[in-house]
Symmetry: C2
Subunit: 445 residues, 2 copies
């Protein structure tokens, strides 16, 4: 195996990406709060040699929970438990820069990196939901640009805290009694527009140097944040052309920040519905779709578009014009509208194409067809890999691992086994140099 390699991450969406996944005979409705479910999925991912599992998150109830499961549990707590039950698969948790303290967040992820022996990743989000704001003393969500200005400072600050211990600061020499070389532990003394943080972190530098930073930069601000700070990006693209254009744009921006164009691993979302024949896959999609109540899908679409559901007519196209609302999740909004306009879909057909309101691309087919699709995107430079969203969990992932992964391996596109121990190793990312090494103010200065 040689040459450029695919990266595969699985989005651990409780019962699966379809809102109806929990209603299938093989699903357990309480999977969303059952740690055994998360461990089971992680072990399947590890058996398939996947790069990582990923948990999305919002610190609020922002979906129709009367109809479907949601991200209930705090992701770092879940992934710490999963770390103890796995050995290689990466563990990526979402955490908001708008509703966390940088010191606490840096510490929690550095701790997860130590507990998992170098498998932690942080997915940086700014959290557009008004419901989240109301859980943290605000009347609603803060404005898009303000969220991203704060996010940039927050992310830089967290990276500095992750460098606050040099690699060899911990000594632990019994005979001399020297425990830590405090000349190699550094205050960061950050004083910025939004945060003032002294440091150092309480956590020695983690196995990966820094946990891997993920971002899902869709908007202009989001792309800039990703280009400046991220190691890997969860993107949204419905066509190879859109995917390739996004990748070119992001790499150009990264170069402007003095980074090599391949510094970023770009992973478009990919929902999968797999059958042993094309007809079986279509039947599976029909079954999943028929179990989604239309009022749920409509409410979710209206939420994505930030409009009144009454403005949506099932048998007509989306309202036109449809300006981007300031408080929308840009990625989801633009992806949804682009899909509807391109294929001139009625709302009813759009809902089905969205799989009940997801927004990411859905491929329905045989393992061979899905491998072909993945290979085409990969070879066209539209993706370095994918953020997989199986229709149903764990079954949809098990099918992917048992039927699609071997095809990708035979084609020389995907690893036969893990070559390294850390998530950075899996993603082919270098261990970052420590900004304070051989310089800087120390704790003892």
């Amino acid at each position: 195996m040689s040459g450029r390699q695919l990266h595969l991450n699985v989005n651990l969406l409780h019962s699966g990406v379809y809102p109806s996944a929990w209603r299938l005979p093989e699903s357990r409705p309480d999977a969303f709060i059952d740690i055994d479910h998360f461990v089971r999925v992680a072990r399947i991912a590890e058996r398939g040699k996947l790069d990582a599992i990923f948990l999305a998150d919002t610190p609020a109830i922002n979906d129709r929970i009367d109809y479907r499961p949601f991200n209930a549990l705090e992701p770092t707590v879940v992934l710490a438990a999963v770390a103890a039950a796995t050995s290689h698969v990466g563990l990526v948790a979402t955490a908001s820069t708008t509703y966390n303290e940088p010191y606490n967040l840096a510490r929690r992820f550095a701790s997860l990196d130590l507990v998992s022996r170098g498998r932690a990743g942080w997915n940086v989000v700014t959290t557009a939901d008004a419901a989240a704001g109301r859980n943290f003393g605000f009347a609603g969500a803060s404005e898009h640009g303000a969220r991203y200005a704060r996010a940039r400072e927050f992310t830089d600050l967290v990276h500095a805290l992750w460098d606050s211990w040099e690699d060899d600061a911990f000594v632990g020499d019994k005979s001399s009694g020297r425990f830590v070389d405090t000349a190699k532990v550094h205050a960061i003394d950050h004083r910025g527009a939004h945060y003032t943080v002294a440091g150092p972190l309480t956590v020695p530098r983690s196995p990966q140097g820094r946990p891997v930073t993920f971002q899902a930069g869709g908007s202009e601000d989001g792309r800039e944040l990703a280009a400046a700070t991220a190691d890997a990006v969860f993107s949204l693209a419905q066509t190879i052309e859109d995917g390739a254009a996004y990748a070119r744009d992001l790499r150009t921006r990264a170069v402007r920040y003095g980074r090599p164009p391949d510094a970023l691993v770009i992973l478009p979302g990919l929902a999968t519905v797999i059958g042993s024949t094309e007809a079986e896959a279509q039947r599976r999609q029909d079954e999943l779709w028929d179990l989604v109540p239309v009022e749920y899908s409509l409410a979710r679409l209206a939420g994505t578009l930030r409009i009144d559901p009454a403005r949506l007519d099932l048998d007509k196209p989306l309202p036109d014009p449809l300006p981007l609302p300031p408080d929308a999740n840009h990625t989801m909004f633009l992806g949804t509208v682009a899909l509807a306009r391109r294929d001139k879909l009625t709302v009813r057909r759009l809902l089905r194409a969205l799989g009940g309101g997801v927004g990411h691309r859905i491929v329905v087919g045989t393992p061979e067809a899905i491998a072909d699709d993945i290979e085409a995107w990969f070879r066209a430079g539209a993706a370095d890999g994918f953020n997989l969203m199986p229709d149903v969990l764990p079954d949809g992932l098990e099918t992917f691992v048992d039927a699609v992964v071997p095809i990708l391996q035979r084609r020389g596109l995907f690893r036969q086994d893990y070559a390294g121990a850390t998530l950075r190793d899996h993603l082919g990312l270098a261990r970052p140099a420590n900004r304070y090494a051989a310089t800087g103010r120390s704790l003892s200065a």
Copy 2:
């Protein structure tokens, strides 16, 4: 086995309570950042049928890390990993009300309670350290009374969030498609002096109803907070009389808050140095003490007293008078001064009695002598059990479990096995009723 039963918690102080514990031949210096160490200690505690393990915490470096290990890792991350590797032992994590958002904290502990299937506890602290303040945008620590006013509102608010889902709100009925009965999920709409939080929590009600609330109320404010909100208390007492007086005081206060006097489980700190003979135990203590650099002990004592180390003369008593500084940890300050005055100790002898600056009571002796001490405190009403601080970990705990626990079991004071599955079961605490059951505003209202 019947009658009133002892409760035993172990304070998982990385390498042990002695600052020199990491330097013994059997210790691993990197235990403080090695998850396998935490798992090993937890499994020994579980083999001994102990109620819980406990992690102290400060979100800052506030000790002389050039000399000794410290609480590096974030406790909920550590305990989630430990949860996956154990089945019965309780898991108590410290988290600060001054430097966390209530919504995030409530969510993290509710998640830990689900992940551990009902074994989570939250030790409420207000964090007196100035170094912590500087990691969160403050010039130093906030004032004692202000911290406690905030802590009371914070704790009440967290308890309300833990009630925001009624026990039977989750439905998960595949045939009807009803996932959650949103009439049983409640906004809390808290608007207080310090916090405004809408709720509900994203987490269904946890196995314990609410994670167990611990407190270490030493000061007047701390005792009031514990009496009003805590299920269990970590206390500091050097004599049976002091322990009994503290217990009486706290139970009297609890009654004033309309609670039964036995609503609180009171657990004084108890450091143990165990030998198969009295002489062997003394030798072990000498060995541990001789490895503590005197400049470390002096610096730590000066830190507890919030005075310049130059004011401490090794061969004289503590300075007199020594007023309580506003930014001190009251429990540690008062315990230390009381010990020095009562036994008229020079600073040198005080340091040794403190075991290098701990402040909690140290018992040195045979398993039989330690069991006698525990029984005497328990029967005198000075303790419902203890927060054990073994000299060295895991060895000191292993000796306790193998040699002291069987004596306590033979005397009918301690369980032969766990009778229940949750930490509340172990502690004999009732599952709290949900404040919203059969009433209140729901999410769908």
